[in-house]
Amino acid sequence: MEKRLIKKEMLYDVIKRISEEILVYAPVREGKDVLFRVLEEGMELLVDYPNSKNAPKNIFFPHTEAMMRYARTDRGMEISGSGEEAKEAVLFGVRPCDALSFVLLDMVFDQKEYRDTYYIDKRGKTTIISLACVHPPYTTCFCTSVGGHPMSSEGSDILLTDLGDTYFIEFLTPKGEKLLEKFGNLSEIDDTVDSIKKKLSDNSEKKIKSHIPAKESKAWLDDNFEHPFWDTIHQRCLACGTCTYLCPTCHCFDISDENKGNRGRRIRSWDSCMYWLFTHEASGHNPRPSQKERWRQRVMHKFKYYVDNFNAISCVGCGRCVRDCPVNIDIRKIVEDISKLKALKL
């Protein structure tokens, strides 16, 4: 693993230079939000920003994407092409929670028997450059409760840590190291850097003020699929789906065909377990008939089913769902309440 230092003002130039050669996705300001966009000339690159409004998952798993194209022939519709091929890219400025989300998404999309070619293609060709959270940005951050850390490098190819005038830059993976030369002449580190980083890391961890007993909730969830508690959590929910759309780990999708005259494309688009149609069958039967079952699914999926299947919680503690739920439903509170219910035996 290569470690270097880079002057702050140099970083802008390097990223700009890379963006002239290959695709660079980076956080930019749009209105009052920060969003990941393809970095183009004249755009201002952000490095000091709390976190993006949307999770960057759309880079590998777009909101809608063409899976294949088809055209009408004498025999009916036939495939006329597959989805678009991904280009080499850099995803710059990802926060550690969002970088971790890619590791979690890999567990679903990159399985041995069925590999999701669309996701894997983009993911494989993209190098992730992350920005450690020396100052965790929000009171709603709870990454340390769910297996993350404000300065974690998990899921990143390159990690940048703000040391004041310079960034400590770690090239963590072969993919990251391949980018090393594009950074030009970087200063060598001295042996104090690691200990400085360690100190920053301990500090940032202390700044995370929100803690939830996420791992502990599993035991209760295992036994209490039927529990009056589930009647209480969804009551204000508008079923808008905001929580799932903003969530970096939610990956549910729909597949549909879009026609235009004699041609068309099969697309996939994000879907949400918060919607009633999600499990509605052609017969009219719906195994999740009300918002109660849908909210239970959301909690179960993140804190139990994912753990059963992959030994990981499917939440990175980014707090987006907490910040943007229009009726202030707070997943942290739900998990806390569950921990208090533990003693209750039905």
Partner: protein, 279 residues
């Protein structure tokens, strides 16, 4: 890297209208490319996603048996957009197919045992596949007694009629075809599937039963088999859930931690007990 979402082309060779109401048809399809035919290795109980471009995809159980290597069959009830489009097809049309998907009836587990097949309504399709598989010359000796109870609401709603009468003529399989209510022409058995199962009273000794049908039929059939002494490990069923990807990605069809499309659709009752009752 093989794209698991990419349908392969198949041609509809034959369409058979199965029932009087005409809303259940069997589609016999053949592969367009030889290599894709070779690659498509399946077992009874598995399903495929059938595609009509412009309309979408639907998961449909494979109704033919691997012992019928020249084609695949799907028996489809007209329900909504895709299934209606399938029903409007003419012979010779080209459609798309992805699969085989899901697990299968557990053939290894069934081997050497007496088998009771119980089907109600049009959910009989993959049990028909299994039955054809088991009674094929190459396989018949691998299984003990085979009993089939299959029921429909009326004689006009029985599917696979020619096949049923062929099976009835065989010595090596016990057939019980029944209808809830007969008509003037019906000479066969009358009675609900659970009642007939009770009358037949298959021994639970070294036996497994496989049940598929409308939820209400399953609900009333299960107690009959418990009474006969079948354990929850020896009752097997197939679940249906709304599906899209069919490969455990779209997050739609889970029951607890299991995905019906990938870990199912076939489950032992004992396995279902472990899952949440969300289906």
């Amino acid at each position: 890297m093989l794209n698991p979402y990419m349908p392969i082309p198949v041609d509809v060779e034959k369409i058979i209208t199965e029932v009087d109401t005409k809303d259940i048809k069997t589609f016999r399809v053949v592969f367009v490319h030889e290599d894709e035919k070779e690659r498509f290795k399946y077992l009874p109980g598995q399903f495929a996603e059938l595609s009509i471009f412009g309309k979408g995809e639907s998961p449909i159980g494979i109704a033919s048996s691997p012992t019928q290597p020249d084609y695949l069959e799907f028996t489809i009830q007209k329900a909504g957009v895709v299934t209606s489009a399938l029903h409007n097809l003419d012979e010779g049309s080209r459609i798309g197919l992805r699969g085989p998907l899901g697990n299968s009836w557990p053939i290894d587990y069934l081997e050497g045992k007496n088998i009771v097949v119980v089907g109600g309504g049009f959910a009989f399709t993959t049990l028909r596949s299994l039955t054809n598989y088991m009674i094929h010359d190459n396989n018949r000796s691998r299984f003990g007694d085979i009993t089939v109870v299959y029921g429909a609401r009326s004689p006009g709603l029985l599917m696979y009629k020619d096949e049923l009468s062929a099976w009835e003529k065989r010595e090596d399989i016990n057939m019980y075809v029944t209808v809830d209510k007969g008509d003037e022409t019906w000479k066969g058995r009358e009675g609900f599937v659970p009642t007939v199962c009770k009358e037949v009273g298959p021994s639970s000794e070294n036996a497994v039963t496989l049940i598929c049908g409308p939820p209400i039929m399953i609900r009333f059939t299960l107690p009959v088999f418990f009474e006969l002494g079948f354990s929850r490990e020896n009752i097997i069923t197939s679940l249906e859930m709304r599906m899209k990807c069919g490969i455990g990605k779209c997050g739609r069809c889970n029951v607890g931690s299991k995905y019906v499309c990938k870990d199912g659709p076939v489950f032992l009752l004992a396995e279902l007990d472990e899952l949440t009752k969300e289906y």
